[in-house]
């Protein structure tokens, strides 16, 4: 479990950029806290609509100065702006939208993920509490048509995050379809994890060395293009 290989990966912004390429125009998208939030830096001018679970569709960029309105924040408690076509609604409607299958893609961070598409993200046992901040993550997993994970490939200390079995409390089982890390792009299929793209300069073998489950190497394996 404690393989301590660690590669210098892409910066977080570049992971976000790579994810943004996977989001088709016309999509309704919810971005979780962390790397996923950075995706919105890459979608300006792209015809996608961001949903904030607080109760807003079509959130704009972060608000600054006179644009800050205490009644207009995103799910991370940051002041945001509205766009033409933005709408507001109550929390019940917001989660009806999420749970009811109206959001095309949710992008979330994760602490651990396995080859079956199970992932853990809501509770870090190191906090030492059975309870935790689950927020809307499980609703997004239950309802979004596609679930992407964007995260660092390993922890800062080089601990594996892509594991054979989760040791952290699961957020959802079998829901993740794509995994984007600083080192690789991995598709999760019924047969297991398929390595589709690696960071320039690394090999499939390098990726396997920091990945728990045995990877299936895509026939058309390529470099992550940014």
């Amino acid at each position: 479990m404690s393989q301590k290989v660690k590669f210098e990966g892409l910066p977080r912004e570049m992971i976000a950029l790579r994810v943004s390429r996977e989001i088709k125009e016309g999509s309704y998208v919810n971005l979780g806290i962390g790397i996923p939030t950075l995706i919105s830096n890459w979608t300006e001018g792209v015809d996608i609509v961001l949903q904030a679970e607080i109760g807003m569709l079509k959130t704009g960029s972060l608000a600054e100065g006179d644009d800050v309105d205490q009644d207009l924040i995103n799910a991370s408690c940051q002041a945001v702006t509205a766009l033409p076509g933005s709408s507001y609604f109550d929390i019940v409607e917001s989660f009806a939208m999420i749970r009811g299958g109206h959001i095309d893609i949710a992008v979330m961070g994760a602490l651990q993920i396995n080859a079956r598409g199970d992932y853990a993200g809501w509770s870090n046992p190191s906090r030492g509490l059975f309870v935790g901040n689950v927020g809307g993550s499980m609703d997004l997993c239950a309802g979004a048509k596609k679930l992407f994970i964007a995260m660092e490939h390993t922890t800062k200390d080089g601990e594996l995050k892509i594991v054979n079995e989760l040791s952290y409390p699961a957020t959802a089982l079998g829901k993740v379809s794509m995994l984007f890390t600083d080192l690789a792009v991995i598709e999760i299929t019924p047969k297991g994890m398929v390595l589709k793209e690696v960071m320039a300069g690394l090999t499939a073998k390098d990726i396997q060395s920091v990945t728990g489950p045995k990877l299936i190497i895509a026939k058309d394996l390529k470099e992550i293009e940014l």
Partner: protein
Amino acid sequence: MDKTFPSIEEAIADIKDGAVIAIPGFFACGVPRDLLKALIKKGTKNLTLACGCGPLVGAVDEMRALVKNNQVKKVIDSYGLSRSASKGMQEPFEQAVRAGKIELEVFPMGTMAEKYRAAGAGIPAFYTPTGVGSVFEESDVTNIESNRKPKETRMINGQKYVLEYALKPDYAFIHAIIGDKEGNLRYSKTARNFNHVMAMAARVTIAEVENLVEVGKLDGNDVQTPGVYVHRMIKVSRPQFAITID
């Protein structure tokens, strides 16, 4: 049907020790801060604060005062702890949770929203896909181990669902940007969040409004919470706060 009260103290005067009070707000946004301050002043004890997404993380000063006064028995929330684990360790609330002196019960946010809605809508229980595959399908998730009642699941059309129950607070504290004297309310942007559904859910709903207008000033198409859900109305000033959480 004039529902305005002469003072915020009178509007909450009948709240007794042990009451379950719904507190809306999504972190800093849409929290009924004046009502919370009046509750602190009143000193009511043994309270259960039924939240949705961290209003007490957002209104952290009010939370600290409630904990300091020893007013809180239990918090129900999807996001009740500080975002930062290290800062959370410093919070008297989290310390009380760790010590088992305050109960913290957690549900996924959408389940919280739906539990309040069910209470308001006369639906005693519903099935949800949320939480399947996690500890939330196994038992109630609370720091008090003896309160971890097993949950029930059921297969419907080949998929597994969790049975969840309505949550009916005794009171709801509501913050709205505008309201008329008969209790018709309208919210500002994302400050709506849990306000409407908690107004529906509670036995007694007390609304603080930034603008109190005469009946007829709100167009019927623009009302977001019909007055039938609102029992008491107070005028407050627009709150001042930092848009941030730890």
